[in-house]
Symmetry: C2
Subunit: 228 residues, 2 copies
């Protein structure tokens, strides 16, 4: 009666969305789930594509971004293992408003709209989880708007560093940038040049020490007090 437990099953079960789901539901979802290995630079989907389900990252990094008219781009989110994206578009009749491109090689799960909707009808907890997830996403976006419209370049960078520092020790905290400074800059709505200068400025003020992608923060509270 019992099938061998695949690594897909394990991956699916460990999704936040799927916690509390019984084995039968997991199996049902599994039937609409495909593993997708991606290469660095690969487009998971483009802006304007129709949605067929949502993605969850197993390994590697993916960026969500908007193309700019002049051929550039604006990075909205840098996502890593355990994070998922593309849920919201499933519930609308519009195509993707952003594109998704791999920053590194890696693998992702694609869960089809059909099996998810079917599972939602059987287990109302799934809908609740999705609502919670979308709400968090919405909240994050509002914070981004707040940053873009109300804060200076320096304030945005400081806020980003502090968020990344998380619960590191308040003294001698260390932050490792998740990807290239160019991408980080776009995420913070800066040019690479401006990011470089602001980092330099913070270092000159003794608030941080930069060594490549690793940034030392000798006094986290003092850095935080910059952002009054």
């Amino acid at each position: 009666m019992s099938e061998p437990v695949s690594h897909l099953q394990i991956a699916l079960t460990s999704l936040p969305l799927c916690r509390q789901l019984d084995a039968e539901e997991i199996d049902a979802l599994l039937r609409g789930t495909r593993e997708h290995a991606f290469r660095r630079g690969e487009m998971l989907f483009s802006k304007g594509d129709p949605s067929t389900g949502f993605f969850s990252i197993i390994r590697g990094q993916i960026k969500l971004a908007l193309p700019s008219p002049q051929g550039g781009e604006k990075v909205l989110e840098i996502m890593g293992p355990g994070q998922s994206f593309g849920e919201a578009v499933m519930f609308m009749e519009v195509p993707y408003p952003v594109f998704a491109q791999a920053l590194t090689e890696g693998t992702a799960l694609h869960i089809s709209k059909a099996v998810l909707f079917a599972a939602m009808d059987r287990d109302p907890r799934l809908a609740r989880k999705l609502l919670a997830g979308l709400s968090m996403r919405l909240h994050g976006l509002i914070q981004d708007v707040e940053a873009y419209t109300l804060q200076s370049a320096r304030q945005r960078l400081v806020a980003y560093l502090i968020e990344r520092a998380g619960d590191a020790p308040p003294l001698r905290a260390e932050v490792r940038l998740p990807t290239s400074k160019t991408v980080i800059a776009s995420r913070l709505n800066l040019t690479p040049e401006t990011l470089s200068r602001v980092l330099h400025g913070l270092a000159e003020a003794g608030l941080i020490e930069v060594r490549g992608r690793v940034i030392q923060i000798p006094d986290l509270p003092r850095l935080a007090s910059e952002n009054a």
Copy 2:
């Protein structure tokens, strides 16, 4: 057996969220619904307040905004009759990330979290509707971020006018600004001075004609082509 139909019942039934709900569910929601009359300038809730439910506007206008450190504010949304807000915070354990202030006198419904959650457990369509609503909200915010980060003041204003024009005749379209130019400016992330100048510029280019809060657009496609 049948109660008199209150105006609250009518208001609730006409909510997009409540379409397709049977009379019993409406009555259940009704028990957690309160009517709230508000005056111009009244705060419905402040940033940091805990959520107890969501709001739906019956009559009047309400703005959602972020306070700025220097005492100013950034308007996120200008909402009118039929629109609702505050759904997302119900699904998180965090307080409101924005505040809501009345732009005019009016009335709103407040539907308590408790009765809504109970109704959701009985009717899965409610959850589906909420998911659709939140998804639209998310989509709108992404468009806002796109506008703030990728477009100039002029482009944002043109896009706003075109959106407001909706399906008006392509020639001789007329747009009425929903509120004061100061509030519109903040919504578009401009100062009132800049809004005034950009309006002037568009008028000078023959793209629009401004008479107070009424804006004539002699050639909608030509205005749209401004935003390449």
